[in-house]
Symmetry: C2
Subunit: 575 residues, 2 copies
């Protein structure tokens, strides 16, 4: 029987609760956003006693479905002030699902602000323990110590030093199948975990019942169709070959690769930070060009990037990070970017928020443009040690902009804009503006149709069709995030007719129900509307659905400007 | 003939414009708020090219009316994100009025971000000059140098180093009759002046026509009645005797003196920071216990506070500053607070925002509670020099809270809550919540009726009548700020029947018009509604009209909590 586990950090109690009927049909993002909307007062202080952390595996997480291993996290974001959902791979999601835990709700704050705690999940429920040894330690040390303490199989959700310091750049991190780090990224969710004095959560699925499938035959058949669609799609093949960093050259070609803190749309040294270059280097150095963030992934867009001596340097090394420290901060040496990525993993910092921040810090004169060694030094010596400068930088993109009076600050709803210039790729601009999450490419990845030719083509430089495109993608993403699926299933889902019905069939077979495609679309709409209402109740308005003023300045090579009116953007919510 | 002077910092032009008919009846706050609402896009970046700085003398500024020498400043605040009006004494307001300048509008930004400028106003208009010598200099050095350059009579509006660095604690400062500093306080207006690379404005009223009075006899008669009311009122007598710092003992007695970053409502060492103690010390050391911030002031609540050796230490040493560094930051030595006050004057920092910030910084562990020498060191060595720690602290109360993850952060609309605990003095809480300015005691000084027995009595500990009280006071203040009057005329205006009609008579005699008391009240309503609409258009909602969550915790000695519902607060706007 599925259950809710509720952990109260104020009175240090844990409870098993039955799943309310209204929540039974939800998983992943639909469930975490529903619980946050139901239980967290929208105007509460995100680091105060009323905020909660909610973890939930997706509807298919823990099943043999390909690419279904995502764990959703929901909370009120201390960065955006609105609702936040962030899902990650790693091993914890599947283990939590197999334990029959529909959602883990962590609420309240310890009375003693100087003590730190951990939560252990197993087949009997949850226990809270005081933790002393690992406080202040980086994520790699935590994973290593807990593996030694509890065995190699243990699932780990961990808070790095950035989250302990309640920095707005902090993530909540999860152990991946190789004991490396994946992240519940964006929105400063680590600060919420830090405000509850919670250092880590361990998961032991020994003796777990596992995920029951109502109609195994039907599931298997649908799963086969679904898997074939994934491996057949050319974009997923590209991701498999080069990782997400395949996008550097593509975006540079499109003139949408933000360069020097969003001053230009192309970067002259794009080749030396490209996915092609990276993949060749990984092979040459004996690294792993392909790697899955969770068991059952067929795409394997991740990789293990070694240093010159063939030693592990980083993994899960994404396009957005390479772009932000490369083109946008003008760092030419990929090894420096990789080293910075690894430090961010260890500190538990969001690599988009942090890396975009460095562009603004360079604009403010904190360090020279392109100073890769400077970034590494600031991460280690200032941010990691919580010095005053480290606290400024740890506050993220907007915080640095405010601190130094910079006006070219690429954020929406206080969250950094990622790797695609909204002037030259207008569909993603609509997503940045309207996403309930703040600027977030994953919430409605219009690059697919604007640039990659997936799901048809919408001209990236024209306004026509962008609002509809972003709306459809955001609705679909709401459903995908609820299923526990990796967002990269969206490419075949848009192009290969059998893919989406197979996904719906798997959900139906899992639960013994009979959803239609429309039901799934309606789930996506429900997710967006629930989140949007939370944001409105928190005090946001349509004025928060706007890009920064500086995007009125034209960007080369197309001399493109952001020219949507407020009214045009607001039409997004007409559904 | 009255005129508008428009200075464009982008193309470096100055223009004289006729006063539009719609603006003719306005002065002071009514005029600056009208111009900001008409010309500044509410959603623009406050430090970007679209924000403007608007200065306007009040309707009676420059006349012989007592206490009428205020100059209003309007802009979009980089601290609150909403409209900001701030008026100050000093000599500039009267000189600008005598030059027939109805408003000075400064717009645009220089193309060359490395060059700094000054504006000179005289009977022929305005000229812009490049400035090099005084960049980076403190306000006292600027006043001294400009006096040497231009003579003792010159009016000076100056930007301190905090404003040059675009800190959110920065003020725009004005020279007072003794060449000391008064401030357009709150809201980080200095950062806007800094964003226009404008270091100072000088005013030379040689050959000015002066303010014409339509009916001098009527004006004289009304002025006499008005002046008598001012000197007769006991509260103004108390202010004259002890300065605003007379409030320390009064608020402590009422249990409304926020202590240790708003943890308690009374301070055990209140006597040694009290107005009575201060006044005795000033006399003993040969200082000036009474001093006016502008010519024609009958109350003279200011003072010159000397050090142990009788040397000038500070002036304009207000209750709110003494409270914030004294009771709220637990600094017991008044000389340390005075020294800090003087440094803030020199740096051009808001003494409320900065001093309340130190309470939060102490809560964050940046320096020990009560460390007066530490505050002085941080002001001089960190903030003044723009070090990383200085930048954090210079960002103000909320910025420090966010940087260090502190949740007890006393702000409304991002602006620091001043010297009166809203739990124990509930009327002022309604003002903090609803003021268009962010937390601001001056915008509706409910202390008058809650604590001082002026204008009747409304029990400070009960909710009854507080919304109406704050509304009436805020409307009246909107009108007083438009007349160019000191806010302390409100006490006799509330209690002495002849006072308000005499004020209306002076306005009528000045312009040859026939306003009634209702017209003046309607002016106040117009001001509030214009400002409120600007804030709504900037993206604020009723959720911004709320006090921080921590005020739900009871405060001694009354165990009072902030218990207004959102609905009760929102009723404020029903007029």
């Amino acid at each position: 029987m599925d259950k809710i586990i509720r952990v109260n950090m104020n009175d240090m109690t844990t409870k098993l609760e039955a799943v309310p009927a209204a929540w039974a049909g939800f998983g992943g993002r639909a469930l975490t956003s529903t619980i946050v909307a139901a239980e967290v007062p929208p105007t509460c202080h995100p680091l105060g006693p009323y905020n909660k952390l909610v973890f939930a595996p997706g509807l298919l997480t823990g099943t043999p479905a390909s690419n279904s291993g995502r764990l959703s996290l929901g909370t009120k974001s201390p960065l955006t002030g609105g609702i936040k959902e962030s899902n990650a791979g790693g091993t914890s999601g599947q283990m939590i699902a197999k334990l029959g835990i529909k959602a883990l709700i962590i609420e309240g704050q310890p009375k003693d602000k100087d003590k730190w705690y951990s939560i252990a999940l197993n087949k009997d429920g949850a226990t809270i323990s005081e933790e002393t040894d690992l406080i202040g330690k980086g994520n790699f040390a935590v994973v290593e110590a807990l593996t030694a303490r509890l065995g190699k199989k243990v699932g780990i959700i961990t808070l790095g030093p950035a989250g302990e310091m309640k920095m707005l750049t902090s993530n909540i991190s999860v152990k991946d199948p190789d004991s490396h780090i994946r992240s519940h990224g964006r929105g400063g969710t680590g600060a919420v975990m830090g405000s509850k004095n919670l250092k880590f959560i361990t998961i032991d699925d020994t003796g777990a019942e596992g995920v029951q499938i109502a109609d195994p035959e039907k599931f298997k058949a649908a799963s086969k169709v679904f898997s074939k669609a994934l491996v057949d799609h050319p974009v997923d093949q590209g991701l498999a070959a080069y990782g997400t960093n395949v996008l550097v050259n593509i975006l540079n070609e499109a003139g949408g690769l933000p360069t020097r803190n969003f001053t230009y749309g192309q970067c002259e040294f794009h080749e030396q930070i490209s996915g092609e270059f990276m993949s060749a280097r990984i092979k040459e150095r004996g690294g792993k060009p392909k790697h899955g963030c969770h068991a059952g992934c067929l795409i394997q867009c991740s990789q293990i990037y070694p240093d010159k001596n063939g030693k592990y340097l980083t993994s899960g090394f994404e396009y957005e990070t390479v772009w932000a420290l490369g083109a946008n901060a003008l760092i030419k040496e990929l090894d420096d970017i990789a080293e910075a990525d690894n430090i961010m993993d260890d500190l538990g910092m969001d690599s988009i928020e942090t890396s975009v921040m460095f562009g603004v810090a360079m604009e403010a004169g904190v360090l020279p443009w392109g100073d890769g060694r400077g970034v590494i030094r600031l991460l280690k010596e200032e941010i990691g040690k919580g010095t005053p400068l480290g606290r400024i930088l740890g506050g993220g993109t907007e915080h640095v902009g405010t601190t130094y009076g910079v006006t070219r600050v690429p954020v929406v709803k206080h969250q950094a804009i990622p790797a695609y210039d909204p002037r030259s790729v207008k569909g993603i601009g609509i997503t940045y503006a309207t996403s309930t999450m703040g600027a977030d490419h994953t919430s409605g990845y219009a690059i697919a149709t604007n640039i990659l030719g997936v799901g048809g083509h919408v001209d990236p430089l024209k306004k026509d069709g962008q609002v509809e495109l972003s709306r459809n993608l955001q609705i679909a993403t709401g459903a995908v995030d609820s299923a526990g699926m990796c967002i990269f299933i969206a490419f075949p889902a848009l192009d290969i007719p059998e893919c989406l019905p197979a996904l719906v069939d798997m959900i139906n077979a899992r639960f013994g129900i009979a959803l239609t495609g429309d039901d799934v679309a309606n789930l996506g709409k429900y997710v967006l509307k629930t989140e949007h209402q939370f944001n409105l109740d928190a005090g946001m308005t349509n004025k928060d659905d706007r890009l920064p003023e500086f995007f009125e300045q034209p960007v080369l090579p197309h001399n493109a400007v952001w020219d949507f009116t407020g009214e045009e953007i607001d039409a997004f919510w007409n559904f």
